[in-house]
Symmetry: C2
Subunit: 130 residues, 2 copies
DNA sequence: TTCCTTGCAAATCGTTTGCATAATG
DNA sequence: CATTATGCAAACGATTTGCAAGGAA
C-alpha cells in the first residue's frame, strides 16, 4: 500500500482533528468544502476509508445507519443521544473484562467487543425539563 | 396503531421463531417464500419493522451493514464471526453495571447500551487449524 | 364499508466504483 | 515516468415508500 501525499487528504485530516463531535462523511464533506470548494464526496469517502484502514482515524457505528469518524483513535466509548442524534465521548475505564466474560461459555475465539451507550445528552435533558 | 391480522405477518413470525441464526430481511424473504411464493420483499421489511417496533422481535446490528432479526427478545448478547459472518447468541450475565459505570462522569441520562462481540466462531476456528 | 395490508415498482440513502485527467514522488 | 489521487457520474445494496388492489374486522 503506497501512499502519496494529497492536499485533500490533509484538509480532511485537519478538519477531523479539530472536531470532537464525530462527524459523518457528509459533514466532513460540507466542512472541507469551505476551504476546498472542488472536493468531491467520493474523495471524502475514499480518504475516510483509507485513513480508517491505516488506523489514522476511527470509524464509529452507533446504530443510526450512518458512519461517524473520530480523529481520536485511543480506545474509548461513545454515547449517542436518541433525541438529537449527537455523538459524544464517554469517560470511563476500559471494559476488557467484558471480552473475557464473554469467552467463558464460548467455543470460538473472541477478539473484542463493540459497545456504545444511548440516552439523552445533557442539552436534551435540560430542554425536556423546561 | 391498529393492527389487523395477516397471513404474511404470521408466516414471518413463524419462520423467525424457528431460527436461532438471526436471519437478515433477505433471508427471511427467501425462507417465507417457500410457503408463500407471492410475498414481496417490501412486505417482509414492513412487517419486520412493525414487529420490531411493537417489541415482538429484536433488530440486531452487528456492524456488517445489514440488519439481523431475532425472535428472542430477552436481553442477551450477540457474537459475529469475522470469517463467515454468522451471528450467534452469547451466554453471559447481563452487564447493566456497564450502564451505571458510564453514567458516572456524564451530564445527560444514559438509558442503556448496545454491545456485541466479534472474533472467530467455533467452526471457523477448527477450519483454520486444519 | 372502513381502513389495514399487500404486491409491485420506483425512490431514497449512504456508500462504492469506473474512468479519464491531474497531481505526486 | 510510474503511480496514486481526484472529480464526476453512474452503480450499488439495503431499506423505504407511493399507489392501486386485496383482505380483515
Amino acid at each position: 500500500m503506497n501512499l502519496k501525499h494529497s492536499k485533500q487528504r490533509d484538509s480532511i485530516m485537519e478538519f477531523l482533528s479539530g472536531r470532537k463531535d464525530h462527524p459523518t462523511a457528509d459533514m466532513v464533506y460540507m466542512g472541507v468544502r469551505q476551504s476546498f470548494p472542488n472536493i468531491s464526496l467520493g474523495t471524502v469517502y475514499r480518504n475516510l476509508t483509507l485513513l480508517a484502514d491505516i488506523g489514522e482515524i476511527a470509524r464509529i457505528r452507533v446504530g443510526d445507519g450512518v458512519d461517524h469518524f473520530d480523529a481520536d483513535t485511543s480506545p474509548h466509548y461513545h454515547f449517542i443521544c436518541k433525541e438529537c442524534g449527537g455523538v459524544s465521548d464517554l469517560e470511563m475505564e476500559n471494559m476488557d473484562t467484558l471480552t473475557e466474560a464473554a469467552g467463558k461459555n464460548f467455543g470460538g475465539r473472541i477478539e473484542g467487543h463493540v459497545s456504545y451507550f444511548y440516552g439523552q445528552c445533557e442539552n436534551c435533558c435540560k430542554q425536556k425539563m423546561s
